[in-house]
């Protein structure tokens, strides 16, 4: 398994390189640049700025310098928009925030979603099932950009229980709404996947055998049915984990959390090349690692899988 993991991580290096190169060229070929503004800069001023950031160099040279600085100095370059911060600063500031509300959302979505799904499958066609399915569909139909304003309207304006936004070092009153907003739709999907997977497993031969030999239902569910049930859920959770960890632009916009999602989208709109690339690399690296973890988790859930 160690050899497998190492092999996967080695393959990740060219993958991320390819990602950087593709992203770099796409970015530079998008119309407009970081210094395109409503008040077009006089050519001389623009030339000075481009010289300062090395944007007057040929593209291959810029790409080479960029990679060189990352590998040798671990320096992801300056932000063109925010003059007193560089990409390392922006990630160091935004990523912990996204990480906090993201992992909490992930936890909430998984725990609630899986429990709902299992409860629904065990009590198939009962009121619990209808309730869980109804809740799951409703949650899925409420994307976070709808949940955000609804939550703020309810808990801040009408009830006055929670602050309408901000981060304040991640104190819990500031965390509740972002976590709910981000978790609900994933929770809905997880509940649905768990339920249908559980139903399928419960109808399979090995469960019938387990029941036939007289095992109590509790043991059948926990010891025999749960692991195979979670296999499709885990493959869904992998990418979800990356999404929520890297922050959500909607959560950042509606709750002013200061996470990385807003910085990412903002950098694309303002053509802040280095920030965009830096965050893309972070997302790419996270995806590679999480995919690997997901694959390793498969082996635990399904003994038939060997690496």
């Amino acid at each position: 398994m160690l050899a497998y993991s190492l092999r996967r991580l080695l393959v990740a290096i060219p993958t991320i390189l390819l990602l950087i190169v593709a992203c770099f060229f796409l970015m530079h070929y998008a119309p407009g640049g970081p210094f395109t503004s409503e008040r077009p800069l006089p050519p001389q001023v623009l030339a000075n700025i481009e010289a300062r950031y090395g944007l007057d160099q040929p593209l291959w040279k810029q790409l080479w310098d960029y990679l060189y600085n990352i590998v040798v100095h671990f320096d992801f370059g300056p932000s063109f928009k925010f003059k007193d911060r560089d990409v390392n600063d922006i990630i160091a500031q935004g990523f912990p925030i996204s990480l906090t509300y993201g992992s909490l959302s992930f936890l909430v979505a998984t725990v609630v979603g899986v429990s709902l799904g299992i409860a629904a499958a065990i009590r198939h066609n009962s009121w619990i099932d209808y309730f869980a399915v109804g809740l799951g569909i409703a949650a899925q139909a409420l994307p976070n950009f709808i949940m955000g304003p609804i939550l703020i309207l309810t808990f801040t304006l009408w009830l006055g229980w929670l602050p309408g936004g901000g981060w304040n070092g991640g104190q819990w009153p500031y965390l509740i709404m972002p976590v709910i907003a981000l978790a609900t739709s994933y929770m809905g999907s997880i509940a649905r996947i768990t339920r249908s997977s559980m139903l399928e497993v419960l109808n399979s031969n090995f469960i019938r055998t387990a029941r036939a030999k007289g095992l109590p239902t509790r043991t059948v569910i926990w010891r025999h049915a749960l692991k195979p049930t979670l296999l499709p859920v885990v493959s869904y959770l992998g990418p979800v984990f990356v999404y929520v960890l890297t922050g959500s632009v909607f959560v950042d916009i509606y709750f002013s959390t200061g996470g990385l999602g807003q910085a990412y989208v903002g950098s694309a709109l303002s053509r802040d090349y280095a920030v965009l690339l830096g965050v893309t690399i972070l997302y790419g690296a996270l995806t590679v690692v999480v995919n690997l973890l997901t694959d390793l988790a498969y082996a635990w859930f399904d003994p038939k899988i060997r690496y």
């Binding site: 407009g32 008040r39 001023v45 925010f82 304003p149 002013s256 959390t257």
Partner: protein, 542 residues
């Protein structure tokens, strides 16, 4: 060092005592209103500011913060009039190309150092320095400071800049051309002083709260990017005893509807009103919903370059389209925020600018529509040969509403076929700048309060003239206005030509549309540039 700390402590104590004395009674010294115990002003910012470095900042959000942290030669009062800042006054020679500013001797940096003429010289040289490559370097060129353009281009040494410290309290500026409104331009953040020692010590990181030294009424105490920033009273500020507000908090809330909800929940003292919601809010909260004219225009520009549509080369077509725009519907039904209707390019709110009597403004909409049909028919367009073109705007809900309304008006009244297209901001700027459009949205906020900041956009060589309007008489008048003692009649004539030639369709002039808590005192609604200074505000007890 010890002595230095002691002096600053002493200064701090004295100023606290003075402040205490003036406001302990809790009443405003001039109006007699009862002041709130908590003098904190919290307002919404739509986006993160780009920088608080005076020479580098390029966005309005940043400029608002910089105006509190730093103080330039001159300030503006509540009505936008020029009042002394670090300078107590200035003199100009007869030809208006040498200005001499006298600096007050009690102005201090937040570390206790005196603010000297040398700090301004350093800052202004810094602004044009190709090594700093400020995106606002062009402002020094616009100010016509001697050799600014050559230095920016790298063709002259920085020390050749036409600015000199005669002594610590006298600053002399030499201009390459006479400029009657030069002192007005010194209220702009690019011209604010900069602390050389601090900048040399910390480099780009000098603007971080832990490093910054500033000379304004406030100091920069906290900055959490994309979340909030805080500025607090600067005890070293020369007029600290007359500053009432202790603390200013800017919360970044990107979505204006969320901001409005948070305002209504009592988390903010000020926020913007989203388009269309002003009538409802002013009914529900008549004391809090305010609207006042601002120094910005909203227009559509025709592409008059060689590559532009043939039809637009005929002034009759352009005029017909402008006439058929029912501005009443746009301002009353679509925007509904008290925006003034626009029949001229420069807003009526511009200082020293009289709106000329444009024929169109005095007609009824029915008369305008009638004339529009005639003009279009004269140009050879009609039911069997309908005019058709594309119009582009940058992606935004409000711009979309206006564009849809315009295209419907033209379709219903004139049978014109319009294809609408929206573009993401940077793409839009590039396409418009390269004349890849038929009709494009435009908007401009004055860099200073004088009509030329708008009218120069239609000068044939201007880099901002995306429609490539070219009129020799307009160029001549604008050149003459630069040195004239009374440019008003010249601007009036330019506006008359614009009305005749219609290179642009003025739609409306912006309004500042805010929800403002009633306990915020002295918001400068009459300052059309909205150059507000926190030290002039106060909070009354509710």
């Amino acid at each position: 060092m010890n002595k230095h700390i002691r002096t600053s402590l002493a200064g701090l104590l004295t100023s606290t005592m003075i402040t205490g004395a003036a406001f302990a009674a809790g009443t405003h010294p001039e109006t007699g209103e009862t002041l709130a115990d908590d003098q904190t002003f919290i307002y919404r910012l739509g986006d993160e500011h780009t920088s608080v470095d005076p020479q580098v900042v390029e966005d309005t959000y940043g400029a608002e913060i910089v105006r509190d942290l730093f103080e330039g030669l001159m300030n503006q009062d509540e009505a936008g009039n020029l009042v002394p800042g670090v300078a107590t006054g200035y003199t100009a020679n007869d030809t208006k190309d040498v200005y001499t500013f006298t600096l007050r001797d009690n102005a201090k940096w937040s570390n206790g150092d005196p603010v000297t003429a040398g700090d301004f010289v350093y800052a202004w040289k810094r602004a044009v320095d190709p090594a700093l490559s400020s995106p606002y370097a062009w402002f020094m060129e616009l100010m016509s400071i001697e050799n600014a353009a050559e230095i920016i281009a790298g063709n002259a040494p920085i020390d050749d800049l036409g600015v000199k410290a005669i002594d610590d309290h006298t600053l002399e500026v030499r201009l390459s051309a006479p400029l009657p409104y030069f002192p007005q331009m010194t209220t702009h953040s690019t011209t604010f002083p900069a602390p050389q020692k601090v900048i040399e010590e910390f480099g780009d990181a000098w603007t971080k709260p832990e490093n910054i030294v500033s000379n304004g009424a406030y100091i920069w105490t906290e900055h959490l990017p994309q979340e909030r920033s805080v500025r607090e009273r600067n005890e070293m500020y020369w007029d600290n005893e007359n500053t009432i507000l202790d603390k200013v908090v800017a919360l970044i809330i990107n979505d204006e509807n969320v901001a409005l909800t948070r305002y209504l929940a009592g988390e903010l003292d000020r926020t913007e009103v989203p388009a269309g919601q002003f009538p409802r809010l002013s009914q529900e909260h008549p004391e809090e919903a305010i609207s006042f004219p601002r120094l910005c225009n909203y227009y559509y520009t025709f592409n008059l370059s060689d590559g532009g549509p043939e039809a637009f080369k005929d002034p009759n077509v352009r005029q017909a389209l402008s006439l058929a725009v029912d501005r009443d519907i746009i301002t009353e039904k679509v925007m509904a925020g008290g925006q003034p209707q626009a029949y001229t390019f420069a807003p009526e709110a511009t200082a020293g600018f009289t709106v000329p009597e444009v024929e169109m403004a005095s007609m009824t909409q029915a008369e305008r529509d009638e004339l529009a049909k005639e003009l279009l028919a004269t140009a050879g367009f009609g039911p069997d040969n309908p005019l058709s073109f594309d119009m582009v705007y940058n992606t935004n809900e409000d711009h979309k509403k206006v564009a849809v309304a315009l295209s419907q008006m033209w379709k219903q009244k004139l049978g014109v076929q319009v294809e609408l297209a929206n573009m993401e901001w940077k793409v839009f700027l590039e396409e418009r700048g390269n004349q890849n459009f038929d009709l494009a949205r435009g908007a401009w906020c004055g860099d200073y309060n004088e009509a030329s900041t708008f009218l120069d956009l239609l000068q044939s060589q201007s880099g901002y003239n995306d429609g490539k309007f070219n009129n020799a008489r307009v160029d001549e008048l604008l050149a003459e206005a630069k040195t004239s003692d009374d440019p008003a009649p010249l601007y009036t004539e330019v506006e008359r030509i614009i009305a005749q030639e219609t290179p642009v369709i003025p739609i409306y002039h912006y309004a500042g549309v805010y929800m403002m808590d009633t306990d915020v005192g002295n918001w400068p609604v009459d300052n059309v540039e909205q150059n507000w200074y926190s030290r002039n505000l106060y909070k009354t007890a509710e």
